[in-house]
């Protein structure tokens, strides 16, 4: 898992508002990963960053999941690559 070859990956928590990203991987324990998967946030899925002040929760959206607010701690654990 540490061997992700992509070099433009970064945690969701630092991505600017308005960008679209693709989820690469979710770090963390069972409960959280399961919950994110359940609402459709799993590797390969694209999401748009609606609101991110950089130090608080992040609001994201896509067609499958709708709009969600992710706590800062969660956003840090979602590793993404910027698509546009």
């Amino acid at each position: 898992m540490r061997g992700d070859k992509l070099d433009n990956v970064l945690p969701l928590s630092v991505v600017k508002e308005g960008k679209t990203v693709r989820i690469v991987k979710i770090i963390g324990g069972g409960g959280l990963v399961r919950r994110l998967y359940e609402i459709g946030l799993l590797p390969g899925v694209e999401v748009m960053i609606v609101r991110n002040s950089g130090f608080g929760p992040v609001i994201i959206r896509n067609n499958v999941s709708g709009t969600f607010c992710l706590g800062f701690g969660v956003a840090k654990k979602i590793i993404v690559e910027v698509v546009s």
């Binding site: 409960g31 919950r35 359940e38 609101r51 607010c69 992710l70 654990k77």
Partner: protein
């Protein structure tokens, strides 16, 4: 499927008993609205996640068949991650509903289908209400309902619950489904996982058959592969320890073979399946008049770190202004009508004096106290319900996240705290949506310091007597003091017990919706009704009990004159009990009558004012004058502080016990008494030095 035999033969039998139907769905899909429409308005709804914290039951009768509808908490899946999911699953496993209605949001159907798959895997007879069909159309979402219906072998009915659209068809479909068998549904998880599922299924199949359990063995096998703690525990409790460990062994082997987490793989397979469904049956084109655009526009301001906070504070101010100012004239009307006209009427028409006194001084005083509350509560509830139904509450959670993080809580904990200003009981209950036990306990500890509407009459009365000029400021100072102590409490307990950061959380942000006035009124009325039933009966009862304890004493019956004669009253039971406590409150300089009223306040804070009225033998309207003769303003302020902070009412304590257990509840009750006493004493002594 093996867990649900065909009901064709059992329909007659079923008709004699109510047929159980579970209503389930993601948060914010209009599930509670649908439930209310079907049951003709017995439960209330909200537009922020998790309003349905406890399952609500309603009745529906059709052509002589009676149905029992159970409204379940809004959840995303059945993995038992939060308390809500556990409640929902417990009902599905133990309540054995005959049919499950899944309410789905047509705008983001895919996310909803994840739950659908899990329900079908469990072997339920499902009816899907494709709700918000109109909004989906506006968003440019087109769903091939027939195709999806065929593929899932499950009836799907487009509905717009708020407009009653599709509800008749939904009901018809439910009736049709009664006699049909559950559909066969199976996801292919790929050869390796399927092999493991089959191995575990064979292990549990015959023991389950032997016990006559109506659980699908394949579903159980999948749950075991996903390492579902709740299921593991259940099987252990049934004495299947060997099966559990064997299943674990199979799982570990599979994990080693695939070199990845089995549960993640299983969820991925489900998504693969449903994204495939989505590709086939859901079309999206650019929306013409998008709700998302409107929501985004509003959110630019409302979730802005500075502007949003300013709007939030203004809304909060307006909410309280609205509920207190608008209500005050109504309150006045009730007060005057009650304390003068009805009072005199009853007094003059009832004989003998004993009976007349019981009614006037006991019952009527109690009823008056309850009625005086109604306008304030009604407007507060209307305000809160409106905020909930527009979807604004989720933004409040977003905005307060950073602030709450400092207390070791997530933004979502703000909602129970705000509800606490209305009533602590629903506030404590609504902490269930919070992820971790730690977060739930912390917010439950904070809630009692949120000054609920029952404490307001105490403040109103005392400020009327002592701070007539600065009434609003003094009352606001009470609210702020409460919040301040709540914050200190959270910091203290978090550092003492947990020293931990906030656990991750995920929260649905519903689009802004135009709230339906009918819904808001229905919901507010429901809340008022539950206040009347719960608090009202206690207040009434206590008013009578106080009356009895005042007209009788250790020497026996004293007579209603005791209420007019302090000399006589001091021989009553109430006086002896309070005198017994008097030394304890010596530092606070309290009269035994105040102690007596506050002790009754433990039963319900609402009765503090009415018992003061009874004990000083005046109507509530002239109580301020009487009190200003016997207390100093400083003592009054210290008394208000004590009333604000001491043990919440019995109903809150009972709810706390349910939510966090007896140990923490007792700890909290003692802690609050200590805090209240200390604060009251400090105000009295420090204030005394300053003045």
């Amino acid at each position: 499927m093996s867990c649900h035999e065909s009901r064709a033969g059992s329909t007659l039998k079923a008709r004699q008993k109510a047929i159980k139907i579970g209503i389930i769905g993601n948060p914010n899909v209009g599930k509670s609205v649908l439930f209310n429409k079907l049951t003709k308005g017995k439960a209330w709804v909200g537009n922020w996640p998790g309003v349905t914290v406890e399952k609500k039951v309603g009745k529906l009768t059709l052509d002589g068949i009676s149905f029992e509808l159970v409204d379940l908490p809004g959840i995303y899946g059945l993995t038992a991650y939060s308390q809500d999911e556990l409640i929902a699953r417990k009902f599905l496993l133990e309540g054995k509903p005959e049919i499950v209605i899944q309410v789905t949001n047509a705008i983001n159907l895919e996310r909803n289908l994840y739950l659908t798959i899990q329900l079908l895997e469990m072997g339920f007879k499902l009816v899907i209400a494709l709700n918000m069909a109109d909004l989906a159309e506006k968003e440019g979402v087109k769903i091939d309902v027939d195709g999806l219906r065929r593929e899932l072998r499950t009836p799907i009915i487009p509905t717009i619950a708020v407009k009653n659209f599709g509800l008749n068809q939904l009901i018809e479909t439910i009736k049709e489904q009664l006699d049909k068998p559950a559909p066969f549904f199976k996801i292919d998880y790929g050869p390796e996982i399927e092999e493991a599922i089959e191995k575990i299924r064979r292990l549990i199949d015959s023991p389950i058959r032997r016990l006559g359990l109506k659980i699908d063995p394949r579903w159980l096998a999948i749950r075991l592969l996903e390492d579902d703690n709740d299921i593991v525990q259940r099987l252990r409790d049934m004495g299947f320890e060997d099966i559990v460990s064997e299943a674990r062994h199979i799982r570990d082997e599979l994990q080693a073979q695939l070199n990845e987490s089995v549960e993640v793989l299983i969820i991925e397979k489900r998504y693969e399946y449903l994204l495939n469904l989505s590709r086939k049956y859901v079309r999206r084109k650019t929306a013409e008049k998008s709700l998302t655009d409107l929501t985004d526009g509003l959110d630019k301001v409302l979730t802005h770190p500075i502007l949003g906070l300013m709007v939030f504070v203004s809304i909060l101010y307006l909410l309280f202004k609205f509920s207190f100012d608008v209500a005050s004239s109504l309150t006045e009307v009730i007060r005057v009508t009650f304390s003068q006209h009805i009072h005199d009427l009853v007094k003059n028409s009832l004989h003998p004096e004993f009976i007349s006194s019981l009614f006037v001084d006991g019952v009527l005083n109690g009823v008056g106290t309850i009625l005086i509350f109604i306008p304030n509560l009604l407007f507060l509830f209307i305000g809160i319900s409106t905020l909930e139904d527009t979807g604004y509450m989720a933004r409040v959670a977003f905005l307060s996240d950073r602030l709450m993080n400092r207390l070791g809580l997530s933004g979502r904990a703000m909602i129970p705290l705000l509800i606490g200003f209305g009533c602590n009981v629903p506030a404590v209950m609504s902490t269930r949506v919070l992820g971790s036990d730690r977060e739930r306990r912390l917010s439950v500890f904070m809630i009692p310091f949120m000054s609920c509407s029952a404490r307001l009459p105490i403040f109103l009365l005392l400020t009327l007597a002592f701070f007539r000029e600065n009434q609003l400021i003094v009352i606001l100072s009470m609210y702020f003091l409460g919040v301040f102590i709540a914050v200190l409490t959270a910091l203290l307990f978090n550092n003492l017990f947990y020293r931990k950061q906030v656990a991750g959380y995920v929260m649905d942000m519903p689009p802004y919706l135009n709230p339906s006035i009918r819904n808001i009124l229905a919901k507010s009325w429901e809340r008022i009704r539950s206040f009347l039933m719960k608090a009202g009966t206690i207040i009434l009862l206590m008013s009578v009990v106080i009356w009895v304890l005042s007209v009788t004493g250790p020497e026996g019956y004293i007579g209603p004159e005791a209420l007019r004669d302090v000399e006589l009253l001091s021989r009553s039971w109430i006086a002896s009990f309070s005198r017994f406590l008097e030394p304890l409150f010596k530092p606070l300089n309290w009269d035994w009558r105040i102690i007596a009223s506050l002790s009754f306040g433990f039963i319900a804070k609402e009765v503090v004012v009415s018992s003061l009225a009874v004990l000083y033998n005046v109507g509530v309207e002239s109580l301020p004058t009487v009190l200003s003769d016997s207390l100093t303003p400083l003592a009054a302020y210290s008394l208000m502080t004590f009333a604000l902070l001491y043990t919440p009412c019995m109903a809150t304590v009972a709810t706390m016990r349910n939510e966090v257990g007896l140990r923490y509840t007792l700890l909290m009750v003692l802690y609050q008494l200590l805090i209240a006493y200390t604060a009251a004493y400090l105000i009295l002594s420090i204030g005394g030095m300053v003045i």
